[in-house]
Symmetry: C2
């Protein structure tokens, strides 16, 4: 019998697992938050992933459980494992994607390169850190942040008053994370997939460009990364994956600093926006590789299919109608562009799709991808 993979969460990451599941003949069951989500076609259950009964009813319908996001509460994850279900990544690994303070502690313990950081309980502690770092820092809530949310660049501890007040009201109490404001040349991302039995495969490191804290474009491989940068990035990702016991796809967001260090920014334990280029750009896409890893099947080749691949997010979309309304114009002008729609309604800043172009010449590839994507945003 083919295995059936269960995905908790019905967003575009779950959606993009549908094509490889169809190709491979693996079953795919999605527990979606609501009706009509991006992964609707594979949605077999609809319910709240924070409700243990909902998740425990979904689990027996599949052979292995994975995720569209990292937000399933630890007690539910641990109950799944206790009942003998395959969960990838497991709760011990996911913890580090859910809590940025635990992540920084663990990476530091493993001797991995991270920005200077501190766990702060009050404004005084925070000001002490800022004073030691040129008066500046990046303040982060330990939990709940993504796409720039829960992150604030500050130059005075007083700017954190509201977050400390919120922490004080929270019965669990807690801390904030402050990190040095890294002077970086650019941001990179290193993706790797790892099976429960340990085999792993890394894609070439890519450059990511953010706009307003959201990933806007990805250049694969990162220009000029051949050689040492690629080795360092792959080595970091391998040590994170092994050290944290990650299964499935792991994305390690990196800073390439102005003084030539590679530092770990964030982790994601699932297919990631910085890997959408792999659908066309790699022999095995991150979505197929994630299914293989979660099913504990041998991983596919992560080799490049073209010298250059550029992926541009569609952020927002047309002022009226939907992305698909613009296909006549986009397709006519850019026959090389691979257009991906997440079947989401346009809304300012919302990720509703992406465009990928592959080819020999980075400038031409990037131009076509940007120009095609920009036709959707107006």
């Amino acid at each position: 019998m083919p295995q059936t993979i269960g995905v908790i969460g019905g967003g575009q990451l779950a959606r993009m697992m549908i094509p490889p599941s169809v190709n491979l003949g693996l079953g795919l069951h999605v527990l979606a938050e609501t009706e009509g989500m991006s992964a609707q076609l594979a949605a077999t259950d609809v319910g709240d992933y924070r409700d243990a009964a909902t998740v425990l009813a979904f689990a027996p319908t599949v052979d292995a459980i994975t995720f569209d996001h990292e937000h399933v509460p630890q007690p539910i994850l641990r109950e799944l494992v206790a009942r003998g279900y395959q969960v990838h990544p497991g709760p011990d690994a996911l913890l580090y994607a859910q809590d940025k303070i635990l992540m920084r502690e663990k990476l530091t313990e493993l001797g991995l390169p991270v920005p200077d950081w501190a766990k702060v309980a009050n404004q005084d502690d925070l000001q002490t850190f800022l004073d030691a770092h040129n008066g500046k820092g990046v303040l982060k809530t330990a939990r709940g942040g993504y796409d720039g949310k829960g992150v604030r660049i500050i130059s005075d501890a007083a700017e954190a008053a509201d977050w400390f007040a919120a922490l004080a009201e929270d019965a669990n109490g807690g801390h904030l994370l402050v990190e040095e404001l890294v002077d970086f040349r650019r941001e990179l991302a290193q993706l790797i997939a790892r099976r429960p039995s340990g085999q792993s495969a890394a894609w070439p490191v890519v450059e990511t460009v953010q706009k307003n804290g959201v990933c806007a474009e990805v250049l694969a491989p990162a220009p000029g990364s051949e050689g040492r940068i690629a080795e360092v990035a792959a080595d970091i990702a391998q040590r994170v994956a092994d050290g944290l016991g990650v299964t499935g796809v792991l994305a390690v967001e990196l800073f390439e600093t102005s003084d030539d260090r590679i530092l770990i920014n964030e982790l994601a334990m699932r297919p990631h926006n910085s890997g959408h280029w792999t659908i066309e750009g790699s022999v095995t896409s991150q979505f197929e590789q994630h299914l293989r890893a979660v099913a504990d099947l041998p991983l596919g080749s992560a080799a490049l299919r073209s010298p250059h691949t550029v992926m541009i997010n569609v952020l927002g979309g047309p002022a009226e109608g939907v992305m698909e309304d613009l296909y006549p114009e986009v397709f006519a002008q850019y026959p090389e562009a691979k257009v991906h729609s997440y079947s989401k309604l346009p809304r300012p800043g919302r990720k509703i799709g992406h465009v990928t172009v592959t080819g020999e010449h980075i400038d031409d590839v990037a131009y076509q991808a940007r120009a095609a994507a920009s036709l959707f945003d107006r």
Copy 2:
């Protein structure tokens, strides 16, 4: 609103339209013959395509109708058109894929290169043709043949006695088609897609290798076809598509004869086994292109993504269990292989999946694809 494409027939061709429909955000509704077919995931209706009421109930749920096969009866197709539904390819074109005698007549009228042929009503007519062609011929029923069925190589008209007897019992009467037994060096296939508004795009011509009358492997592009052969094949397909008014993907099966002619063997007006390589081997797969064409959207680039692509069918499959049971072994040995399962139960000779490999060196690519596919067949 995104368009929804309706596919009549739930086989693997409909199944392989699912990934591009997900990528593009186009709706896909499949009218499947039974529950549990290959395209089950997209099946919105189940019923008999030969039943007008079933098809007419399906039609209003979609924006354009296309097919997994060519067997929908003409009266139903014509009723759909009469009621204003978009049908691609339309009945006037499909007729030539449904009836081989009409196809030969039309191609001859268009001045296209075909083997010598005759429409024969009895053994005497047939013997006359055989006598004029070295005593040999290929006898075909006008309708209902595929994958070698309804085709018989004969050297005596008496060998056709049972087929003539069957025709005599059929109230519609009718004829058989006899063609010269072409002395060919190899078989080729030329695929082209054409929009209702006339734009067309052709993939490079490929070589197909049949075993027991069934397509077993496809080499893309056809070795040594650069230059004149590619031009001739593309020109033939363009003239067939325009001359017959085909919309969607058209496959033209060709003979490259031992005396260096290119002759038309068969036509198929839908994605075709000889085009499965395009999923990985071309910028736009035949399945995405078919959806674009049927939706009358501008076509994508049909350029190669690799110098060589080889596709091998999985014919039969394992003696016990299903294809997916062999993934641990196949994936471990062939990480470059792209494996496609149609979620069909193995049966001797049955097409249950295929394997594609792309790369720089034809011998290596062909070896990997054949070796990986062969692991499934035992």
